[in-house]
C-alpha cells in the first residue's frame, strides 16, 4: 500500500502550516534573536521598531503571564531571554505586525546594549571550566580496570563527530487562533503536540484544557520538531493571549538555522583492549557531548549514547561516561538516532583503530565479537532474538563480501587516478523510549453509522507514513477496504497526554492502541451479527466487507452490519490505551530492561575517491536488515534509503561551522550542504531478513525510523580505506565529517 498522502503530495494539495487559509485579521510574527553568544543585556531598544506603521506589538519576557520556562527535562530554558543571553539566535522578542515584511523591517531596527562575555564553543573548554548540564552519566559492565591486564592488545584514540542540521524542508512554524473564553487553538508543525499544550499552559498561566494543539502533517522533522517546535507555538499563543487575533509565525530558513539546535557534536577518548584471538575484552569511552546552552533533550540523548556504546558487540567489561557539556551554542536536540549514532561511531572507530594497528581488516574484529543470544548489554538487559550472525551469513551468501573486497583491490591496482574502499557496519538498535514512562499511546476510533471510519491517535505524520500504517492495521482488523478509513489530524483534544512522535516507536505504540480499539469494535459488531443471524458469536467472521458464518458468506454487508449495530444502540466508538509491557529501567543503577526489542542489520559500503580532487562518490550500500515481518515493505525500504543517505550526509558532507564568537557560519543552504541526487549512492540494495520478530512490534513489523541511519557510518570507514589505498602514511584520524577537504588533505599528508 502506498503512502495515503501520496496523491495529494504529488498534486501539491497537501496542507502544511504555511498553507492553511488564514482567518480574517491574522497578524504575523518575526523573532528577534540575540546577536551575541554570551552576555548580559543592559538595554533592549525597541522604540524605533515600534514606530513602523503596521507594527502591532513587540513581546518580551515581561509579557509572559505565567512562568518564563520551557525546559522539558530540566527547568533551565526561557521562552524569551531575561537578563542574560546564552547563544546567538536566542529569542529575545517577538515582533507582531500586519505583514511578515513589516515585522522583518521592524526587527532590523531592534538592537541590544550588552556586556559581552567570552563564549564557550568547544566541549574541551566547557569540561575544563566544569560547565555541565548535569552530572556525568556512566554505564558499567564487568571491571575494565582488571580486564586491561588480560588484554593482548590495548589501543587508545580519539573520535569526533560533528553536528547536523535537520534541514526538514518545511521550516518551523505555528498558527494560533483565539477561541471563546480565552481558549487558544494552535496549529503547529510539531512532533510533540502535548509538549506544546503542557508547556504553553505553564507559560500562559492557564490550565492545559484551554489550549488545543492540532497537527495535520509535518514537512519533515527528523527529531528537530520534537522539542524545538514548542517555542514558536507558544510565542504565537502568547500573542493571541494578549491580542485576541490570529497570529502566524513561520521561521525563515535563515532564522531556523540560527535559532534551532542540531545533532549533538561529540568528542570522545576511547580505549579498547583485545585478546590475542581478537575478542574485545574491555572498552572505555569518555564522551564529551556538546549540549549547547540548555538541557533540551540532552539528558535523554546522553543516555542513548550509553545504551549503544557497544553497538552490535558483546564486550564483557565496559565503562562509558558521557559529559553533557554546556556551551554557548543553540541547545542541541533530538536527531534521528538520538545520540546512538554518535556512540556507535566511537566503538567502530576503536575497532578500525585496532585493525589499522594490527594490520588486519576491521571485519575480522567485528565478526568475532558480534552479540549472541543472551549476551548482556552494558545496561543489564539480555540480548534476545539476536539475528546478527544470520544477517552476517546472509550478507556473505548474497553479496559475497570477500569477492567485493577482491574487486576493490583489483580496481585499486589497475586505476591511477581513483581508489576504492569498503567497510562493514553492523547495527543493533533498541526500540522503546528509554524513559519508560513515555511508552504508551491511545487511539480513538469512530465507526460512523454509514460505515465510514475515523481514527485519531497521538501519532504525527511527518513523511514516515505512520498514518498509512494505522490505516493498514484498522483495515486488517475490521476487514474493510482502506478507502473507508480516514486518519484525523493529531489533536490534543481528541487524544490527550501523548508522547511525542519519536524513538521509532510511534507506529508500535499507536498501532497497538488502534489494533485494540478495532478489536473491541469488531467484537461488538460480531455480537450484533450473531444476534441478527441467530448463530453463535464464534461462528461469525468479517471478511472483505461482509459477514461470514464460518466460511459461508451471508448477505449482511459491512454497511448493513454497522447500521444494525447503531440501531441496536451499540457503541461504535472505542478509545484504547496501550502501554508497552515488561520494560523498566533503574536510572540510578544504570540497569534494567529498557527496550521491548532490538533491530539488527548490516551494511556493506563501497566508495570511490578521486585522488586528484579529493571528491568522492558512494558506489553502493548493500544491506541486510531485520524488519521482523514488514507490514509495508516499500514504505520501510523508503525509510532505510532515506536514513542511509542522511547518515552519509552526516559522515561526509554536512559540516556545521561556528566561528569563535559562536556565530553560525553554515547558516544557509548555500553554505550547509545536504545530499542532492548526485550524492546519493549509485545503488542501495536491501535484503529484508524475515525474522520471528517480537510481539511488541505492531503486527510483528519492527520499528524502522532510526536504526538505518547508522548504516551511513559505513561511508566514513570506506573512505578511510580508500585513502589508505592511495596514501599508506595516511593517519586515519576519526574526525567526521570526512569532507572533500579532509579527504584531499589525507590523500597527500606525509
Amino acid at each position: 500500500m502506498k503512502n495515503i498522502d501520496s496523491i495529494n503530495h504529488v498534486q501539491g494539495k497537501s496542507i502544511f502550516i504555511d498553507d492553511i487559509t488564514v482567518n480574517h485579521g491574522t497578524l504575523y510574527g518575526v523573532v528577534f534573536g540575540s546577536p551575541f553568544a554570551y552576555g548580559k543585556i543592559t538595554k533592549l531598544n525597541i522604540e524605533d521598531a515600534l514606530k513602523i506603521e503596521g507594527v502591532i506589538r513587540i513581546f518580551t519576557y515581561h509579557d509572559i503571564p505565567g512562568v518564563n520556562q520551557i525546559g522539558a527535562i530540566i527547568q533551565d530554558e526561557t521562552l524569551f531571554a531575561e537578563s542574560e543571553v546564552h547563544y546567538v539566535g536566542q529569542p529575545i522578542a517577538l515582533i507582531v505586525a500586519e505583514t511578515e515584511k513589516i515585522a522583518q523591517k521592524a526587527r532590523d531596527l531592534i538592537y541590544v546594549d550588552l556586556d559581552e562575555y567570552d563564549p564557550i564553543i568547544e566541549v574541551s573548554d566547557a569540561k575544563e571550566k566544569q560547565q555541565f548540564i548535569m552530572p556525568p552519566r556512566t554505564f558499567k559492565l564487568g571491571d575494565t580496570k582488571a580486564a586491561w591486564n588480560n588484554c593482548e592488545h590495548i589501543f587508545e584514540g580519539k573520535a569526533t563527530t560533528g553536528g547536523q542540521e535537520h534541514l526538514y524542508l518545511e521550516t518551523q512554524g505555528s498558527y494560533a487562533i483565539p477561541q471563546e473564553n480565552g481558549n487558544i487553538k494552535i496549529f503547529s508543525s510539531t512532533q510533540g503536540p502535548t509538549a506544546i499544550q503542557k508547556i504553553g499552559a505553564k507559560v500562559l498561566g492557564i490550565p492545559m484544557n484551554k489550549i488545543e494543539v492540532d497537527v495535520v502533517r509535518l514537512g519533515g522533522a527528523f527529531g528537530g520538531k520534537e522539542e524545538q517546535a514548542t517555542l514558536w507555538a507558544i510565542m504565537t499563543a502568547l500573542a493571541v493571549y494578549h491580542l485576541h487575533l490570529p497570529v502566524k509565525l513561520i521561521l525563515s530558513r535563515n532564522d531556523d538555522m540560527f535559532m534551532t539546535g542540531k545533532r549533538h557534536p561529540y568528542e570522545t577518548q576511547f580505549k579498547i583492549g583485545l585478546s590475542g584471538d581478537l575478542k574485545i575484552l574491555a572498552f572505555e569511552a569518555d564522551y564529551l557531548q556538546n549540549a549547547g546552552a540548555s538541557a533540551d533533550l540532552s539528558p535523554a540523548i546522553t543516555e542513548r549514547t550509553l545504551f549503544h556504546s557497544t553497538n552490535s558487540y558483546f564486550v564483557p567489561n565496559v565503562k562509558a561516561t558521557v559529559y553533557t557539556c554546556k556551551t554557548n551554542l543553540p541547545p542541541n536536540t533530538a536527531f534521528r538516532g538520538f545520540g546512538a549514532p554518535q556512540g556507535i561511531f566511537v566503538i567502530e572507530a576503536a575497532i578500525n583503530h585496532a585493525s589499522n594497528k594490527l594490520n588486519i581488516p576491521a571485519r575480522e574484529i567485528q565478526k568475532i565479537n558480534l552479540l549472541k543470544e543472551n549476551d548482556e548489554f552494558p545496561y543489564g538487559q539480555a540480548a534476545k532474538d539476536v539475528e546478527l550472525t544470520r544477517i552476517w551469513n546472509t550478507a556473505q551468501n548474497n553479496f559475497n563480501i570477500s569477492k567485493l573486497e577482491k574487486e576493490v583491490s583489483a580496481f585499486n591496482n589497475s586505476n591511477e587516478l581513483k581508489r576504492r574502499g569498503i567497510s562493514l557496519t553492523p547495527i543493533t538498535f533498541g526500540i522503546s523510549f528509554t524513559n519508560t514512562m513515555m511508552n504508551h499511546a491511545r487511539a480513538l476510533v469512530h465507526i460512523y453509522q454509514d460505515g465510514s471510519i475515523g481514527i485519531s491517535t497521538g501519532a504525527v505524520e511527518m513523511g514516515q507514513s505512520v498514518n498509512t500504517k494505522m490505516v493498514q492495521i484498522a483495515a486488517k482488523v475490521l476487514s474493510v477496504v482502506p478507502e473507508r478509513i480516514k486518519i484525523e489530524s493529531t489533536n490534543t483534544t481528541r487524544v490527550a497526554n501523548t508522547s511525542p512522535t519519536a524513538a521509532s516507536s510511534t507506529a508500535d505504540l499507536n498501532g497497538k492502541a488502534v489494533q485494540q480499539a478495532c478489536d473491541a469494535l469488531l467484537k461488538r459488531l460480531k455480537s450484533t451479527a450473531a444476534a441478527n443471524l441467530k448463530v453463535k458469536e464464534d461462528m461469525i467472521h468479517l471478511r472483505d466487507e461482509a459477514v461470514f458464518i464460518d466460511n459461508e458468506k451471508t448477505s449482511l454487508t459491512w454497511e448493513q452490519l454497522v447500521w444494525k449495530a447503531f440501531a441496536n444502540r451499540v457503541s461504535l466508538t472505542e478509545n484504547c490505551h496501550y502501554s508497552t509491557p515488561k520494560i523498566y529501567f533503574n536510572k540510578a543503577k544504570g540497569k534494567g530492561h529498557p527496550f521491548s526489542y532490538h533491530v539488527y542489520g548490516l551494511a556493506i559500503t563501497t566508495v570511490t575517491v578521486d585522488c586528484i580532487s579529493g571528491s568522492h562518490e558512494v558506489d553502493s550500500v548493500k544491506i541486510v536488515h531485520d524488519f521482523g515481518k514488514s507490514m509495508n515493505q516499500e514504505i520501510d525500504n523508503g525509510q532505510i534509503e532515506g536514513a542511509v543517505v542522511q547518515g552519509i550526509g552526516w559522515m561526509t558532507m554536512e559540516e556545521i561551522v561556528f566561528d569563535e564568537k559562536g556565530r553560525l557560519q553554515s547558516n544557509a543552504l548555500s553554505t550547509y550542504k545536504i545530499p542532492d541526487i548526485y550524492s546519493a549512492p549509485n545503488s542501495i540494495e536491501i535484503i529484508p531478513l524475515e525474522t520471528e520478530s517480537n510481539d511488541e512490534a505492531i503486527l510483528k513489523s519492527k520499528a524502522v525510523g532510526e536504526p538505518p541511519f547508522i548504516y551511513g557510518i559505513g561511508s566514513f570507514f570506506a573512505l578511510q580505506d580508500a585513502i589508505r589505498a592511495f596514501n599508506p602514511s595516511y593517519k586515519s584520524e576519526f574526525d567526521a565529517p570526512l569532507t572533500p577537504e579532509k579527504v584531499l588533505l589525507g590523500l597527500y599528508e606525509e
Binding site: N3, V10, I635, G638, K673, I674, Y678
Partner: protein, 466 residues
Amino acid sequence: MIEFILNKEHIKTEIPSGSILLDFIRQKKHLTGTKIGCREGDCGACTVLSGSLNTEGKVDYKAITSCLTPIASVHGKHVVTIEGLNLTDGLTTVQNAIKENNATQCGFCTPGFVVSLTGYALNKNISITGIKDSISGNICRCTGYKSIEKATEDITSILVEKNNHSTKWLIERKFVPEYFTEIPGKLFDIKAKMKINSKGTIVGGGTDLYVTRANKFQELDVDLISENDNINKIFINKNTCIIGAGATVSDILNFTRLHDYFPELENYFKLISSKQIRNMATVGGNLVNASPIADLAIFFLALNSKININDKQGGNRIIFLKDFFKGYKSIDINDGEIIQEITFELPEDDQYFNFEKVSKRTHLDIASVNSAMNISIKKKLINDIYLSAGGVSPIPLFLKNTCSFLKGKVLSSENIQKAHCVLKEEITPISDVRGSKGYKRLLIRQLYYGHFIKLFPDIINIYDIK
C-alpha cells in the same frame, strides 16, 4: 504593468516589477502547492515553469526557482505551478511515477520535483542535459533519492517515444493538461501589445541579488537584461564567439555549435549550480557580481575573453576580462555603463581546454576552488597558455605569472612542476566556510596539475605529484 498567464489565468498586475514571483503565487493567488523552502534557489521547493513563445510560435518551457524570480522576468510568459499541471481526473504521468515508486514521503519537496520533471518532459528535444540533471536543483531530505531515480526511469521509458517538440503528444501521454494547446495563442495576443519593460535598476538574472538583497529589490522596478533581446543572443562570427551579457548559462549550454569546440562543455556546466539557476543566471550578472569563485568568470578568463561595455551616451569600450576585476567585489565599470557582450576566439586544433571545479558537494554548490586552462602546443612547445583560478584570491584570478613562465617552454613534467612554484606565489587564499587556506592551496595545486594530467597523461601523471 506586468502581464502574463499563470496556469490558465490571464494576469495583469501593477506591482513593482522587482516583486518576487513566489510571493505573488502564494500570497496574491493563494496557490500553495509552490513551497517556500529556502528563498535562495538552493532547494527547488518553489520551482515553477516559465514558458516563452519561440520564433516558431511554440512555447519553450524552463524550470525556474520562483523565490529568486523578479516578476518582470515572466512578463509575456506562461507561468505554470503545480496546480497548473493537475489534470481534472487522475494523475499526470510524472505524478503517477512519483507515487508508484514511493518517491514522496513528507511531500513538501514533491511539487517542485513534479514541476522540474514536467519541465524536462516539455523540453526533452531541446535540452542538452538529461532527466537527472533536470532535478539537480531539487533537494529532498526524506527519500534518499533512490525512489525518485526509479520514477525518472519510468518517465524516461515513456519519453523515449517522444521525438518532436509537440504539446499534443504530451497531452495524450498525460504529461500536461489540455489547456496547454491554448497557450501559444494567448501568449501571442499578449506579445502583440506588450511593452518592453525597461525602467528601473538593471539586473542580470537576479539569482545572487535576490539571495542577499531581496528585501530591497522586491519593492523596486527592475530592468532585466535577460529579457532584453538586444543583448541576450549568442552567435559565432568567423572565429569569434559572441555571447550577449543577458544570455543565461543554459543558453550557452544549449548553443550546440559550442560543443564542437568544447566537447566536455556539458560536464563543465553541470557543475555550475543547478538546472533551475542555470535557466536564470546570466553571463553579465555573473561577471559584475565579481565573486572570487564565479564559475563563468573562471571559464572565460582562460579563453582570454574580452568584454564590450556600453555607456549611456552610446559610446563603448572593449577591455580584457582579466583587467575587469579590480579587487574584492570591485570592477572596472562606471555609473551608467553596462556590459553588452563577452567575446572570445574559438579554440583551434592545437588548442586544449579543461575546466575543473571542486566544492563540498559536487553539484549545486559554490566552488571551494575552480580553475580552467587553455593551452596551445606547437612542436612540443607551449605556444600559448591561459590559466585561471577561483577561490584563491579576492578576485577571479588570471594566473599571469604562471602563464608567462610556461609560455614558450617545452611541455614537460619538470616545467609544469617548476611553474607550480610560480603559481604558489600568485595566490592568496583565505580560510572560510568553503575551506581552510591550506586546503585551498593544496586544491589549486591539484587542479593545476589535474589539467595537465587529464590533457597530457603521457607527459605527467599522478605519481609525479604525490
